[in-house]
């Protein structure tokens, strides 16, 4: 009796006392949630999105990305001049610009970042691969020389500028091994990491030496939750203000929730169906169905695939249809390809007929000269969206006589299949697969590079090789003039659309959500007008523009729906019935208790 009362009391007290302490008076805190923490926050070794979210707020680049169109805008450098031969760029840094710890930001820091940090890091060496020298004639001047003209030096040098007086103290071995920067993490961005509580939160406080306008929030918190589901729940309950990455599966639900606005914006990433176009010269030992290299077959497949439907089902309608190699996110360089393969099953059949692929009476798979249009389609098990897209591709191409055999494998296995080597040369073993790529914020080079010949053995996974395309690629990579570059890129996209090493199925979206009662309506930038609300992983312009909502803040969290009530009713009813039965039965046998044991 007593024990039960005590237990009940303890539980009540526990629940009551567990209300988290009230927010600090006066301090305006922006609370965001994520399900995974950054590994170490060291730009030398980390590679996760969460790291980029923190770095892009903690640091500047030499040249930042403008929130309006992601074009070049001052970062650590105030201005820059390009030499006539385009192989030298001279940057002038801001005067009097200080790190968060008061030390001046000088050309020494830039030199360290470009010469020591970038080449020795995991993710950044490619950005400086053309750099031959970095000269610093004075504290505020940096002269970067490149082997050939490289437009990225101005528009896409995605290398954070780190304080040399902090990082230079560590040995390279330690930096590439297990060095973890300790807070406060010195930077030049609007907020710097001031506390890291593993498994709990990362706190970023306002940098007093920030060059730009003072942001509305004093503090930014990244709060760790157990999984994505818990993050989204926390948003509906009002525990956090903003979620920078919402899951596709829950986006629709969040859109309908009270006091929450869910935003879907364009991004530089896409999901593609890749074909194995390896030729004898580059990969003599590759294994694949030769039919995959018939361009008419690929084109027919492109006509048969309903990309809108793939978006609706595999991406739950949250993404965008793919239109060629370059996502329309690249506003400065994107042109919709003239040959866009709008859904046309008849045309698909026609193409295959013209190419001599005879339809088969039983089963319907076309064949020509003993070869069948039967391809394996690999897809990684870690992505349910990719798996569904694969199944849809199969479903959509069956009517034109093409048989895609969907094989779900682990990402390791897929990597192995696409990168394995025989006798030192690449020998990929697949017909087709579905995967995705993500590009840089402004410079289209990363994505365009994927189908160059020199990327074979590196990031090329279709093993496409076209000297004309390669020539155009080199040309555009050195073209600093936007308009001229756009024209060259347009030709490249046309080539890619004609030869179809990739069929880009969807352009993936960045899904985010925030509380309308906590935040004033954020502007959609990076790029305007359909970008996201945090300039996620790219820059801090959005974060500094966020502000608390006006006085009219309606409280409370979302409603979880009435089905819960139904469960409760059912359970209570069941318990009641069981209880009654047990009591009835016991009463009848009450008298027999003591006698039982004698047996």
């Amino acid at each position: 009796m007593r024990a039960r009362a005590l237990v009940a009391l303890a539980i009540v007290w526990a629940i009551a006392a567990a209300a988290p302490a009230s927010a600090q008076e006066g301090k305006k805190v922006l609370r965001m949630g994520w399900a995974q923490e950054p590994q170490t926050l060291s730009p030398f070794i980390d590679q996760d999105e969460e790291d980029f979210r923190v770095w892009s707020i903690n640091y500047d680049l030499l040249v930042n990305f403008s929130p309006k169109d992601l074009g070049p805008t001052p970062g650590v450098a105030e201005s820059w001049k390009i030499s006539p031969d385009k192989k030298t760029v001279t940057f002038k840094l801001f005067e009097g610009h200080k790190w968060s710890d008061g030390q001046p930001i000088t050309s020494k820091d830039v030199k360290y970042s470009l010469e020591t940090f970038a080449p020795n890091s995991l993710l950044f060496p490619s950005y400086v691969e053309n750099v031959t020298s970095v000269e610093t004639p004075d504290d505020l001047t940096v002269i970067v020389k490149t082997k050939q003209p490289d437009a990225r030096i101005v528009g896409g040098l995605f290398v954070y500028i780190l304080p040399e007086h902090v990082w230079g103290k560590q040995s390279l071995k330690s930096l590439k091994g297990s060095f973890r920067p300790k807070p406060p993490i010195v930077g030049s961005g609007p907020y710097v990491v001031s506390a890291v509580e593993r498994g709990r939160l990362i706190r970023m406080t306002r940098n007093p030496n920030f060059r730009g306008k003072k942001p509305a929030f004093d503090e930014v918190q990244w709060i760790k939750y157990g999984n994505d589901d818990a993050v989204e729940r926390a948003l509906t309950l009002g525990e956090i203000d903003l979620v920078p990455e919402v899951q596709q599966a829950t986006f629709a639900r969040l859109k309908k929730a009270r006091n929450i606005e869910a935003v879907s914006s364009t991004s530089p990433s896409f999901t593609q169906l890749t074909f194995n176009l390896c030729n004898e010269e580059n990969c003599p030992d590759a294994k694949f169905n030769p039919a995959v290299q018939d361009v008419k077959v690929r084109q027919a497949v492109a006509y048969a695939i309903d990309r809108k439907r793939i978006n609706e089902i595999a991406s739950r309608g949250t993404a965008f249809e793919g239109h060629g190699l370059l996502p329309d996110y690249y506003k400065a360089f994107y042109t919709q390809p003239s040959e866009d393969y709008a859904l046309d099953v008849d045309r698909a059949n026609q193409l295959l007929d013209e190419a001599g692929w005879e339809p088969n009476d039983d089963g319907g798979v076309r064949a020509k000269g003993g070869q069948k249009l039967s391809f394996d389609l690999f897809v990684r098990s870690e992505s349910p969206a990719n798996i569904q897209a694969a199944r849809l591709v199969r479903e959509m191409t069956a009517p034109i006589g093409v048989d895609f055999k969907v094989q779900v494998v682990s990402v390791d296995k897929l990597t192995e299949l696409t990168t394995q080597q025989v006798k030192g040369k690449i020998a990929p073993d697949f017909d087709t697969f579905i995967w995705g790529w993500g590009g840089d914020p402004y410079d289209p080079g990363l994505l365009l590079n994927l189908i160059t010949t020199k990327a074979i053995g590196g990031s090329s996974d279709a093993f496409y090789s076209n000297p004309e395309y390669d020539r155009l690629y080199d040309q555009q990579s050195g073209e600093f003039d936007e308009a001229k570059r756009k024209e060259i890129v347009g030709q490249m996209i046309a080539l890619a659309q004609r030869d179809l090493p990739y069929i880009v199925l969807t352009v993936d979206s960045a899904l985010q959500a925030y509380r309308t009662d906590k935040l004033a309506k954020p502007k959609r930038v990076c790029p305007e007008p359909d970008g996201d609300i945090t300039c996620d992983q790219v820059g801090y312009a959005s974060i500094t523009a966020l502000a608390p909502a006006g006085a009219a803040a309606t409280g409370g969290g979302g409603d979880d729906g009435g089905s819960g009530l139904m469960i409760v009713l059912i359970v209570l009813a069941a318990l009641a019935v069981i209880g009654v039965v047990v009591v009835l039965l016991r009463r009848r046998r009450a008298g027999r208790e003591a006698v039982e044991l004698e047996q």
Binding site: D229, A249, S381, V409, S410
Partner: protein, 279 residues
């Protein structure tokens, strides 16, 4: 034989176990044909509750939960039985050989057995499954090759008692070879025990397969009740209140394991009369 029939069809517990097991076996064989929809067909009706078109609602991909449930029976049963058979054969072999021959063979085998008994099962399987590429075969092998020790122990104990019995002594005196004795005297007398134990191992194997699938180590190409729970949990079904997605698969696992366990205990009691008095 007739004793088994009596146990299965004439006792309350037997009937319970047989009918449930029969139902699930039927589903395992015909589930794919009888399912109302293609379990993998996705649609835009995501996480919708039970309705006339989807009796058990839909998954996070818009697939029909009932269809997935019916098709999922196959993996659970196939893996459960296959793994249990491997486990039993291995365990029985070790128990027979070790128990009969004794000496150093026995000691070494016993040490192995001890080790496998002591090692925590799920962590061991997790480690093995992670190192290999996940597939049904890997699952079956991993479960089968790590859970044999219990059978081995039981069989060995039985063999030890049988070894001293009169008919074995007589056979040896008459010059029978070890193989002969094992085959005609020891083995037939241990079979009932092995059989009863195997049934219990099936129950354990079904639970283990579901656990591995739930942790993401299952076969990504098949649908099983464990993968349904994994997908449901991973896509936030509990938070969405989508009970139709997560309750039925677990219930099926529970009922199947119950049925098999009840049958297993039934046989075990029959083989080991000592246990009967406990009831």
């Amino acid at each position: 034989m007739s004793e088994i029939r009596r146990l299965l069809f004439r006792t309350k517990r037997g009937l319970f176990g047989v009918s449930l097991l029969g139902l699930f076996t039927f589903l395992a064989v015909f589930g794919a044909l009888l399912a109302p929809e293609d379990p993998r067909a996705s649609s835009t009706d995501v996480l919708i509750g039970p309705s006339s078109s989807h009796l058990l609602g839909t998954t996070e991909a818009g697939s029909d939960v009932l269809s997935q449930l019916m098709v999922g029976a196959r993996v659970s049963l196939v893996v459960g039985f296959a793994a249990a058979v491997i486990s039993s054969v291995l365990g029985a072999a070790v128990g027979l050989i070790g128990g009969y021959f004794g000496g150093w063979t026995d000691r070494i085998l016993d040490a192995f057995e001890n080790w496998f008994l002591v090692i925590p099962t799920l962590p061991l399987m997790v480690v093995l499954a992670r190192l290999l590429d996940p597939s049904l075969l890997v699952l079956i092998l991993v479960i089968g090759l790590t859970s044999w020790a219990g059978t081995g122990r039981i069989v060995r104990a039985q063999v030890l008692t049988l070894k001293e019995r009169a008919f074995v002594e007589r056979a040896r005196a008459l010059g029978a070879t070890d193989t002969y004795i094992l085959r005609t005297h020891i083995l037939p007398n241990t079979l009932p025990l092995i059989f009863a134990n195997t049934v219990l191992i099936v129950a354990v194997a079904i639970l283990l397969e579901a656990s591995l699938a739930f942790l993401g180590l299952g076969d990504p190409n098949s649908i099983s009740w464990g993968t349904m729970l994994e997908a449901g949990f991973g896509s936030g079904a509990p938070s969405a209140g989508a009970w139709w997605y997560v309750v039925p698969p677990g219930l099926c696992i529970t009922l199947l394991v119950l049925a098999v366990a009840v049958l297993g205990y039934l046989f075990e009691e029959h083989v080991n009369p000592r246990l009967r008095d406990q009831r």
